[in-house]
């Protein structure tokens, strides 16, 4: 079975983010970029599905600039078979991204499309469901584990206080969260093999967006903490401060 995984290049979660460009985007200088951690779960899920079925191919794709090749190579190093770079200027508008992906996916027509539940940078959780809508395919979001059999995919989702099991007909779109998919790390063999795997670059037309980012603001500076005492003796003082100073009790 053909599995397509849509991935995104995002700043490493450990990178210190600075706001640039008049407060509307992050300053990319000195930022280390990585394959979005949720997308790693999706790549892992795709690889395990392929391994479980004993056949098929995993293709990874991303909509972004030339530098996103590096992100695709990371996924290839994990074990994906081929990559397609949809070359164009990505924006913060999830709908634009979904439209670009949908155009490509209609052409490739893979039965299973996976995405991370969200991109670790913008946290919008939009692209998966929007893509499914544009394609007219069923969608399960934040899936912890799934299994493909007989033209269907059975998905397990963790919901408040329990588990939900969904069955979707293929073709389908699934967004993946960590769940069962602790990602494998790339080995040197994987990195070397990735160099030889096909990476196709396709310039794309980027549709007009009806969304602009007005402002990005960093979180307020944290005030310095204070140690109010140690061990059980500190409890009374802590309760007093929470009640009288912070007024949260």
């Amino acid at each position: 079975m053909e599995i397509l995984v849509c991935v995104k290049r995002v700043p490493d979660t450990e990178t210190r983010i600075r706001i640039g460009d008049g407060g509307r985007s992050i300053d990319p200088s000195g930022v280390k970029y990585v394959l979005s951690p949720y997308d790693e779960f999706a790549v892992e899920a795709a690889l395990r599905t392929k391994e479980g079925l004993g056949e098929g191919e995993v293709t990874v794709t991303t909509f972004g600039d030339d530098a996103s090749q590096e992100t695709l190579r990371s996924a290839l190093a994990m074990g994906a078979n081929r990559a397609v770079l949809l070359e164009g200027a990505a924006t913060m508008d999830g709908l634009t991204t979904a439209k670009v992906l949908a155009t490509e996916i209609e052409e490739m027509d893979p039965p299973l499309v996976l995405l991370g539940m969200k991109a670790a940078d913008a946290d919008q959780q939009q692209v998966g469901p929007m893509l499914a809508t544009l394609l007219g395919r069923p969608c399960a979001t934040a899936v912890a584990e799934f299994e493909v059999a007989d033209g269907k995919v059975v998905c397990r989702r963790e919901v408040e206080g329990g588990t939900e099991v969904l069955e979707l007909d293929l073709p389908a779109v699934i967004t993946v969260t960590k769940g069962a998919y602790e990602p494998r790390y790339a080995s040197l063999k994987g990195i070397m093999a990735a160099k030889r795997k096909p990476l196709e670059k396709k310039p794309v037309d980027v549709p007009e967006s009806a969304l602009v980012v007005e402002a990005l603001e960093p979180p307020p500076e944290k005030a310095a903490g204070r140690i109010v005492g140690e061990g059980p003796d500190a409890v009374a003082e802590l309760v007093r401060l929470l009640r009288e100073e912070a007024r949260v009790l």
Partner: protein, 380 residues
């Protein structure tokens, strides 16, 4: 590629945190799980050409791997030799020898990480070794003593340097030595005694007593009598790689010291705010970066096939000293906690010290620079 490689090694190492290395150290055991994973992922075969099953990468990538292992708090010395000992075979071995051994070394089924040069009665004066290999028909019969020979118990093959012409009979003392591949799996028990040396660090190192050990002629690498040249041929790579381990050690110490000094509050402020604590850490860092720059220069020359003996040796000396400075700085910054095993500093402190002495002591580096680079009078 380089950033990706660095990340991948970091990720692997992050699964072997301090308590793993501490346990291995305390029980003086071999880091089997770590080495198995490193092997499986292909890192130890990075320098082996692709035709023999390795990755065919250059010394630059090998440096990244070893540096990151040591920077993570691990100890690459447990397995670094599997990466480069095969260099002697690769450079000077016959096609038949390469085909026989390299694929197994690449996939890790053959461990070639023992290298027997040092002798108790010769020490740094390698040409004075007395282990002797007598040619008898289609075999050599070898007797002698070796000391500080590491990882023998975790190797299938060992490279051995022995005299094949007595020192008195050669025109130059660097002649008349030969290099052999010893298949340790075939050695009868009474022909080679392996006596482990208890040491300050967890480093499986041994005394070897060879008593009429038979080695088939086909296991000699290259020509008879040229062994010393072959050993020297691998020295620059070894210097550069071990300099990288020292750079990794140094960065481990400054990473840890910086973090600790920022968190530890005494007299109402982080100790790192005191210049008496901060400046030594900054100075140690400057030293490490300087050593790394020399290492990088050596790498560039090595990769271009240019002479790099001076740079490789200087990098080894600078990096070993910088790591040792950083080790002491970290011990100071950690105060009493530096002595507590669970902090890892005392273990790395012991491990980092090795590179001042081995594989060659820094005095020998200085004599090389003095005599061969500066052209000063010879002392020996």
């Amino acid at each position: 590629m380089e950033a990706q490689l660095r990340d991948a090694v970091r990720e692997l190492c992050s699964r072997y945190p301090n308590d793993y290395w501490q346990r291995v150290d305390r029980t003086r055991s071999y880091p089997d799980a770590f080495v198995a994973e490193l092997t499986e992922a292909g890192y130890l075969a990075c320098l082996i050409p692709e035709e023999y099953g390795g990755s065919g990468l250059g010394i630059r990538e090998a440096c990244i791997i070893l540096e990151e292992i040591n920077r993570s708090g691990g100890n690459a010395a447990a397995c670094h030799a599997q990466m480069y000992t095969m260099g002697t075979l690769l450079r000077y071995g016959s096609d038949d020898q390469k085909a026989r051994y390299l694929p197994g070394i690449a996939d890790g089924t053959l461990r070639l990480q023992a290298f027997a040069v040092t002798e108790p009665d010769a020490g740094s004066d390698t040409t004075a070794i007395s282990t002797f290999a007598h040619r008898q028909g289609d075999k050599y019969v070898v007797s002698g003593k070796k000391i500080f020979i590491s990882r023998v118990q975790h190797s299938d093959l060992m490279i051995l340097l022995a005299r094949t012409t007595p020192l008195e009979e050669v025109e130059k003392k660097t002649k008349g030595m030969s290099v052999f591949v010893v298949d340790l799996r075939d050695v009868p028990e009474n022909r080679m005694e392996v006596r482990p040396i208890e040491a300050m660090i967890n480093h499986e190192t041994n005394e070897l007593f060879l008593d009429e050990l038979e080695i088939p002629v086909e296991n000699r690498i290259g020509e008879e009598g040229e062994g010393f040249r072959y050993i020297l041929g691998g020295m620059n790579a070894e210097r550069i790689l071990l300099a990288s381990e020292s750079v990794g050690d140094g960065l481990y110490f400054t990473d840890r010291a910086k973090q600790y000094a920022g968190e530890r509050v005494v007299f109402g402020r982080p100790i790192g705010a005191n210049q008496g604590v901060q400046f030594p850490i900054a100075k140690a860092y400057v030293g490490i970066r300087g050593a790394a720059a020399m290492r990088d220069e050596a790498v560039r020359r090595y990769d271009r096939g240019e002479a790099c003996g001076a740079e490789a040796n200087m990098a080894k000396l600078l990096a070993a000293e910088a790591a040792w400075d950083a080790a002491n700085v970290a011990m100071d910054a950690f105060g009493g906690y530096g002595f507590a095993e669970e902090y890892g500093i005392e273990r790395k402190f012991r491990e980092a010290r090795l590179y001042m002495v081995a594989p060659i002591s820094n005095n020998m580096v200085l004599s090389y620079i003095g005599q061969h680079v500066l052209g000063m009078p010879r002392s020996f």
